[in-house]
Symmetry: none
Subunit: 240 residues, 2 copies
DNA sequence: CTCCATTTGTGCGTATGTATT
DNA sequence: GAATACATACGCACAAATGGA
């Protein structure tokens, strides 16, 4: 072993163990005391090593619970046709969506504007949670014009897929008209749903989807957990 | 004072002292023992606070010498009008870039990886601030391989434009290989530069630019103020 | 639900090493 | 070389959060 600080040796050792697959993403690492016993060092020395790994982003800790291997952020491509499942699947993860609520109510000003309707028209509102490998990574609210899709919610109940429900309502295909991205601090609702602390940075995506005739069919807002999701934009067509 | 760890209080206190100008760039801070006496805490508690400031980049330490203020409060302006981010300028506002500092130092692991170099190779680092209508909206750090562009910084001083400086270094054209977006909470450095509170959500863009041969020429990170910037991606322009 | 063992977070005290001045 | 100052390491104690009985 190179002549250097013990805590660096331990940090490298743990890094190698993770790289070798001895500890997989999300798994709990041995406790500080266990490492201290194994390496014959003080708990503080182990803490120094682990805190360096936390700083690197390789590990995260939860007081009272332990230290865990951090999952690589899932790279979620932004584009015309890419859907959530497809994106996470490409990244080699298991994606799932849970619908939390479905309601029908009058549209507020912004929702109406985005959908090209008048304020107060009835809209279906679907709220849900997206998970990757069981970890909640995004919270979304989608708004649909109720007049055009009277049976959308019924179809959603059974199909559990917006794309499939659209198909059942006669929309064979739809595309992303526009995506707007902003960073916001998590409020109590989002923080609870995403299992984060209030104030954590979230990536908010606002989008309008249109059918093949260019008619708006969905106005959606999604709050991505900045810790778990990284949006990627491919190529030179954007200059950010 | 908020109910929080003592070391955090001390870190914030020192940060404020630096911000107020009590300690200027390059100046030596009081010793750990002196801080410990002043605040009535153990030297280790002071060390914890200072190590957090080192991590933020606000302070650096030299064993045997002391702790010093790292940030340069005297920001010398190199350029006025330079090419600005397209996504900002197209909104019809007045954009400007200010170069805050230029340095050459060894690359860290991530910078080296992004540029396809080995860790520790010399890189030019340019840090700057982008404004829209005089309001700071983005903070950026660009990293270039020094071996390939030995005279880049000199050209930047006179040309005030990265594109022009590249041209002077023999790079006729370059393209955006990839853009990754994430949401992060502002640290002390970004918060100060962007005139925001620590913890405010920022949109972080990470990109790698390559020359026509596909060789990485620039690794850049930009922190956009979430309050002032909303990135838009036109669906018809992205083909993924 | 409470209770309790576990685990990380914070803080203090001490000692020694190593680089700077 | 001597004094100073940061770096590393050990030990002890308690706080705070977790998670299971």
């Amino acid at each position: 072993m190179a002549k250097q600080a013990i805590w660096k040796d331990i940090a490298e050792r743990i890094t190698r163990d993770i790289a070798k697959g001895h500890h997989k993403a999300g798994e709990k690492l041995p406790t500080e005391v266990a490492y201290g016993t194994r390496f014959g060092v003080n708990r503080h020395t182990v803490r120094h090593a682990i805190s360096a790994l936390v700083e690197e982003g390789l590990v995260y800790t939860r007081r009272g619970a332990g230290a865990f291997v951090a999952a690589d952020p899932v790279r979620y491509s932004v584009g015309k046709r890419v859907r959530f499942h497809q994106s996470v699947a490409e990244a080699g993860h298991q994606g799932s969506k849970e619908l939390l609520s479905m309601t029908t109510r009058p549209a507020d000003a912004e929702e109406a504007r985005a959908l090209g309707r008048r304020k107060g028209v009835q809209v279906h509102v679907v709220e849900g949670l997206a998970r990757v490998d069981e970890t909640p990574v995004a919270h979304f609210i989608s708004v649909f014009p109720a007049a055009r899709f009277p049976d959308l919610l019924a179809h959603l109940q059974t199909l559990n897929s917006i794309t499939a429900a659209f198909a059942a309502c006669g929309v064979q295909d739809y595309t992303r008209q526009e995506t707007r991205l902003a960073a916001v601090n998590a409020n109590a609702t989002s923080a609870t749903l995403l299992n984060l602390k209030v104030g954590t940075a979230l990536l908010r995506s606002t989008n309008v989807d249109v059918d093949l005739d260019g008619q708006p069919v969905e106005y959606g807002r999604t709050w991505f957990s900045g810790n778990h999701i990284e949006l990627t934009i491919d190529g030179s067509d954007t200059n950010i």
